[in-house]
Assembly symmetry: C2
Homo-oligomer: 77 residues x 2
């Protein structure tokens, strides 16, 4: 068994209203010094050892991320 993390983040050129809401709220809550927040998704997968990087990339690209607006990264732990 291998442990794999897939990070999915909004592309840099895409507006991220959730992240902007957090940036706006932090000063009101007393936290200064945070100038930008982007919110994305993190998937932790348990996969068989025979699942290759190609298949993981296909899962991330075609299924976990919306590649029109999101970029993804696969990391084996």
């Amino acid at each position: 068994m291998a442990r794999v993390v897939v990070d999915v983040m909004p592309k840099a050129e895409i507006l991220d209203p959730q992240g902007q809401a957090i940036v706006g709220a932090l000063p009101r809550l007393g936290f200064a010094g945070v100038s930008d927040v982007r919110q994305g998704k993190r998937f932790e997968l348990e996969v068989d050892d025979n699942v290759g990087d190609d298949e993981l990339a296909t899962i991330a690209e075609s299924f976990l991320a919306n590649t029109v607006i999101e970029e993804w990264k696969v990391t084996r732990l």
Copy 2:
């Protein structure tokens, strides 16, 4: 400026219906070998250099994560 990642994941003992939906869907889509998926959130923050680890922990714990059901981890990039 420093770049900080906050990962927020459902606690191990908490059901994760989104992750379970993905586990159930992958075989139907032709991907075998994925035995578990947990879905969480990833926040990427731009913070001033004078923002300390204590403040980042407070932001993660009190604001980005719901500590009743989620665990969090702060990583400086």
